[in-house]
Amino acid sequence: MSTPSPAEARDALARVREVRLDTAGSLRTPWWLWAALGAVLALVTAAEDFGSAVQEAASLGLGALTVAWAVAGRRSPRVAAASGALHRSALPGYAWLPVLLIGLAFGTLRFFAEPPVHRALTGSGMPAWIHDHPSTTTALPYAVLSVAVGLLINVVLRRMAHRAAAR
C-alpha cells in the first residue's frame, strides 16, 4: 500500500470537509417554501371571515397541498432536491421539525392572542372593513411570525448540520 504524502493527505481531508459541508448545505429548504406556507396560513386564517364553507374549503386546500407536496417529492427529482428529500440527514426530522414547530407556534399564538385581538378589532372606533374582517386583518402578522419561527429553526438546524460536518 502506498502511503499518501502530507500534501495528498491534506487534499483528501479538505475534500472530505468540502463534501460534508456541501451535503449539510443541501439541507436548505427554499425560501419560497416558507413564503408559500405563510401565504397558505394567512389564507386559511382569513377564510374565517367568509363563513364556514370557505374555511372548510381552505382547510381542504391546505391538506391537498401538503399531500401534493409529499407526493411530488417522491415523484419528481427536482421537487425532491428542493425539499432535501433526496437524502435523509444524520439530523433526524430536519424537514418536519420546523413545520411541526411552526404549527405549534401558530396554534399557541392564535389560542392566546386571538380573543383580545379579535375584541379590539371588532370594538368601536375601528374602520368598517377591519370591523367586518378581523381574521383577515390578523392573518398576515400571524403568518409572518410563524414563518419567521420556521426560518429561525431552519437556520439553527443548518448550523448544527454544518458543525457536525466540520468535525
Partner: protein, 130 residues
C-alpha cells in the same frame, strides 16, 4: 425490495492497513468522496450521490459495487410507485473505517506540519530519500 451490496466477498485490498489505519480503497479520491458523502447522511438516493460526486450513472454504479463488496456502504434497491430507486448508506463498520482513515491522514498532515515547524529554515519540500 431487494438488498444488495452486503456480500461476504470483500475485496482483498480493502483490508485496513494494520499500522496506519489507512484504507487502500479510500486512497482513491472518487471513492473517498462517495464514502464521505454517504457517511454524512443516514440514507441518500443514487441521484443525490451521482450529482454531488459529479459522476455518470455507470461510473457511480461501478464504484458503489466496489465499496459495497468491501462492506463500506450498503446499497438498497426498491421502488417508489413504479419507478426504481437505489438508496445508499455507509455501514457502521464503513463509518468507523472512514474515521480511522481520516485520523491517519490527519496524523500524516500533522506530522509534516510539526516537522516543518521544528525546522523553520528548512525547505518546505520533504528531503529526497532515494
Amino acid at each position: 425490495m431487494s438488498v444488495s451490496g452486503q456480500g461476504a466477498d470483500a475485496a482483498p485490498d480493502a483490508v485496513p492497513d494494520a499500522v496506519g489505519g489507512l484504507e487502500q480503497l479510500l486512497l482513491d479520491p472518487t471513492r473517498l468522496t462517495i464514502v464521505a458523502l454517504v457517511s454524512a447522511t443516514t440514507w441518500c438516493e443514487f441521484a443525490f450521490v451521482r450529482d454531488h460526486a459529479r459522476l455518470s450513472d455507470s461510473a457511480l454504479s461501478k464504484q458503489l459495487t466496489t465499496l459495497g463488496n468491501a462492506e463500506l456502504v450498503e446499497i438498497r434497491k426498491g421502488h417508489v410507485g413504479k419507478r426504481p430507486r437505489t438508496w445508499v448508506r455507509a455501514t457502521t463498520a464503513g463509518r468507523e473505517r472512514l474515521r480511522a482513515h481520516l485520523a491517519t491522514l490527519q496524523q500524516i498532515a500533522d506530522r509534516a506540519e510539526h516537522a516543518a515547524a521544528a525546522r523553520p529554515d528548512a525547505d518546505a519540500q520533504p528531503p529526497h530519500t532515494g
